[in-house]
């Protein structure tokens, strides 16, 4: 069973995809979607940038008198079980989320593009092997890889980055492969080859630059997924380790005090949901605004 659909099926799939994209966001919501997404994302990036130089309080400073407090003037979002300021911790936590997101997507995209490139350009047994390998990798959502790696080494934020990145491999590899399959026999490539251009230059200078658009779109889709995955892994204790603030880890700690201090569980979760919502809206909005075919 090969994954290469016939030309008719490929055209059908493309049509279906375009139609699906067209139906994604109702028209009056399009600009609103984009603007809202942009605003939330900008707020997050700003928060992370500010937290590098300023937080209202030291995110690691404990205070036994101020444990599990609700929102107040001195602690706008309350405190955790050690009396640490939640607002400051959530601010610093945004750095973790962004960092893990960027690196995980970077790993998935870097390796995925490399494998997809070789697959699509050279074809044959190499392609067949890589694609079966990608099918296999698809069986490993970040949570499974993280479990497996943590079984032999200490849990850390690096492991969560790798596990999440690996989970992104197949989608980037398949996208790149599809673009390469489409482009490698196009006239401009054949012309360059006829002029004696070598494989490396052909791939790097002529084909790869033409595959970037869908890859960038995929990267924006993957980013919020990575943030969700990081939160889940940290929640399970397989990602960021204490005392470093991470939104998922904060929720893990909050769970024990759910009855005593609900705010402790509400604010970090809201931060995750808002961030993911912002990036999703931005991604949806961008696609609809940038692709004129979808405006029909």
């Amino acid at each position: 069973m090969s994954n290469v659909p016939g030309p008719r099926a490929a055209a059908g799939l493309r049509l279906a995809q375009r139609g699906r994209a067209r139906g994604r966001v109702p028209r009056p919501l399009r600009h609103l979607t984009f603007t809202l997404g942009l605003a939330i994302t900008a707020l997050l990036l700003l928060t992370a940038a500010v937290s590098l130089v300023y937080t209202p309080r030291d995110p690691l400073e404990m205070s036994m008198e101020a444990r599990l407090e609700g929102p107040s003037e001195s602690h706008p979002l309350g405190t955790d079980q050690f009396g640490r300021d939640l607002l400051s911790r959530i601010m610093v936590g945004s750095e973790t989320s962004i960092l893990v997101g960027v690196i995980a997507v970077g790993i998935g995209m870097g390796l995925g593009v490399f494998l997809g490139m070789l697959s699509g350009y050279f074809g044959g047994w190499l392609d067949e092997t890589f694609m079966r390998l990608m099918d296999a990798v698809q069986g490993f959502p970040a949570i499974l890889s993280a479990l497996l790696i943590t079984a032999v080494s200490k849990p850390s934020v690096v492991i969560s980055m790798v596990a999440i990145g690996v989970a992104f491999l197949p989608v980037f590899a398949r996208l790149t492969r599809a673009s390469f399959l489409e482009l490698r026999d196009r006239e401009f490539v054949l012309a360059a080859r006829a002029l004696g251009t070598g494989d490396v230059a052909l791939i790097g200078r002529h084909i790869l630059p033409n595959t970037l658009a869908p890859l960038i779109v995929q990267a924006t889709i993957s980013f919020p997924v990575a943030i969700l995955a990081e939160a889940a892994l940290s929640y399970l204790g397989l990602g960021t380790q204490p005392p470093h603030p991470s939104w998922g880890l904060m929720l893990r700690e909050a769970q024990a005090f759910l009855g005593l201090s609900p705010w402790f569980a509400i604010f970090p979760g809201t931060a995750i949901a808002l961030t993911v919502l912002g990036f999703n809206l931005l991604g949806d909005g961008l696609r609809d605004l940038l692709d004129p075919k979808m405006m029909a």
Partner: protein, 303 residues
Amino acid sequence: MLATLLFVSVLVFLVVRVLPGDPALVMLGLEASPDTVARLRASMGLDRPLPVQYVEWIGDALRGNLGRSIQYDVPVAGLILSRLSVTLPLTLMAAALMTLAGVPLGVYAAIRHRGWGDYLTMILSQVGIAVPAFWAGLLLVLLFSVRLGWFASGGFDGWGQGAGGAVKSLLLPAVALGLFQFAVLARTTRSAVLEVLREEYVKTARAKGLSELVVLFRHALRNAMIPILTVAGVQLGQLMAGSIILESVFYLPGLGRLALGAITARDLPVVQGVVLFVASVIVMINAVVDMLYGLLDPRIRYE
């Protein structure tokens, strides 16, 4: 599919054996004497060449022997089977909720295209996609257990105490687990139905004077089902992986808690067994979905 499963097993094997970190040392702890480590290495066969180890391991696994748990001193395969009685119903309940809520809502949004019902559905689905499942679980506990006291905040008494109680303790986790996939499915359904409603044959059916309901159910939905079923199939595997997380929120003794507990107890065969099992199930589901896709849509043929 066989080649893919072979790769799955190689990946599981390699991560545990090739990554820095000696499995024997992991299990015994850093303070173990070199003699003890050497003896365990020999008894686990770790001193032999990797290919030999792999062939033996996979041969055993194919015969249903995933090794013995260090922590419980019972066969790993038996442990996995017994914990499946929690993970499988949880996954299936979440899948049922996701389908029963997501598909009708998606169809409704498509019929009300660009109306308020459509906007509300889209907003709801954006929220569903953004909320992490485990946080949704915590919020459900906060509302229904801590505040209202309608449900226990976690735990599972087993199926022996009657199916009602078991289903009740799986309900909140299933809702939290299904939320994200419900949102994805509602969006997919909406797009698929919208796409089909624009087709010529739907116009023809309407022009013939068929009622809107007949057009919808007999003509549109049937064809929209192909992408919907494909997405739902893939989601089933994701739900199974997601249940690992939800089991932690609700203290359910399923596969996920088994694996997490095994990590703390350095019970390597159990972690390896659970990951191999879940990854294989996901790969098999994906392969079946691929095949179904070809069967359902005659335009798509695999050469």
